[in-house]
Point group: C2
Chain length 249, copies 2
């Protein structure tokens, strides 16, 4: 990985210098200008380029590393990290991984797909404007042959144009998105609902059985990326997370 456009690093003159540096690099990463694996220029180079002292550059990079955006190793240098797979309580989880971790075979099936303007129902369900171009997908994930979770998703074509050409033949939409987009904000909602008729039949449970509904929307730099509703058959599933409010204890 060679010398990646150091000239792209630009300070905006507002606030402390170390924070300007931090934000400049963060934005390059979130914009996709520096995709994962890209070599971040070494401290000396940034120092010269920006006219700041090495300690100031260092401070910015250390903080970015703590935030998980970059990975640093002595001598090897600094590279842009892979996007985090999980965070705190709720994860942008990869359903295949999740299933395989339980030692089950994984498979999925796209039940329906429609690209273009959302139907009124879809627009309402995901709080979309009717004018926004999206791909609308319904996917059933299976674990060891059994229905695992029912996924309904919209992907914003303006934000992730590559979606239009993707068939999702081997990789389910969620995983594919992790590789083809970035997110900087997410919103989650969790609730318990009773399975409706159609959901029950797809998930092979009784109508009215409790299900865990996870709704998630993600943005990258205020642009919507995707919104998804995951319906997990109740009882069989739970979300677990462990964390502390402070640094590791």
């Amino acid at each position: 990985m060679s010398d990646n456009g150091i000239e792209a690093v630009k300070l905006d003159g507002t606030g402390p210098v170390y924070d300007q540096i931090r934000r400049a690099i963060r934005d390059l990463v979130l914009n996709g200008a520096w995709p994962p694996g890209t070599a971040v220029p070494p401290e000396h180079a940034l120092m010269e380029r920006l006219g700041a002292s090495r300690m100031t550059v260092h401070r910015a990079l250390v903080q970015l590393a703590r935030e998980g955006l970059i990975t640093r190793r002595r001598r090897s240098g600094t590279i842009v990290a892979n996007p985090p797979a999980s965070h705190a309580m709720l994860d942008i989880l990869s359903i295949p991984d999740e299933v395989r971790q339980l030692g089950q075979d994984y498979s999925f099936e796209i039940l329906s797909r429609r690209d273009g303007r959302p139907s009124p129902e879809v627009a309402a369900g995901f709080e979309l404007k009717r004018s926004e171009q999206v791909a609308h997908l319904v996917t059933l994930h299976r674990s060891g042959g059994q229905p695992h979770v029912l996924e309904e998703r919209v992907i914003h074509l303006a934000t992730v144009p590559a979606t239009a050409a993707e068939r999702f033949g081997t990789t389910p939409p969620g995983d594919w998105l992790l590789q083809h987009s970035l997110w900087s904000q997410a919103e989650h909602a969790i609730s318990a609902v009773a399975a409706g008729e159609r959901e029950a039949s797809l998930l092979e449970i009784e109508q009215g059985e409790p299900c865990l509904l996870v709704e998630r929307r993600t943005w990258n730099q205020n642009q919507p990326v995707t919104a998804v509703r995951l319906l997990y058959p109740g009882g069989r599933h739970r979300f677990v997370g462990r964390f502390g409010p402070y640094g590791a204890v």
Copy 2:
């Protein structure tokens, strides 16, 4: 708030100095030796006491401030912060606050209480050893007169001895604990369950209706503090959280 025992700050000689300082102070806070509001010695004092340079002390304090453990203001100095009320996705939430935020009257009722060794059922439900002394409480929270959430909780008497003398006449157990204990680790699990007979009648819903079950256990420095199961009538409730994996965008 006067000069609080600076001699209590002790380094352990392992790892970087700035991190030793950070941990030393963090432990004093989490131990309760420096309760919220306590004045943390100024950088100069710590610098002399510890034989470190001011920048090194500074680095430790800045990091503690970012973690939310302390609050710093120029000239005024540094004080131990109040414990955080919420975090990321799921909060150590105050049920009264939550209810009032919705503009409803709040009330609660302790349905049962038993202190001492847990019964076999309780021990099993909360993964306790039979020998651990706990207070076991069942509380119903009401919102505008209507049942809001059913809470079943154990509090470890060894960790929070003040519990034994508390009647919970005006403050429900969760809120009382926030004022009388600290936590450094929490574990959450969320699942959807069908209301059982007893739960349904207490929550005034139909048996079998979907409910959101939140199970939470908290520790302070590896000592268990409390474990709680909150059963929310489905449909009426959802948890929402918004966050980014990186620093504020």
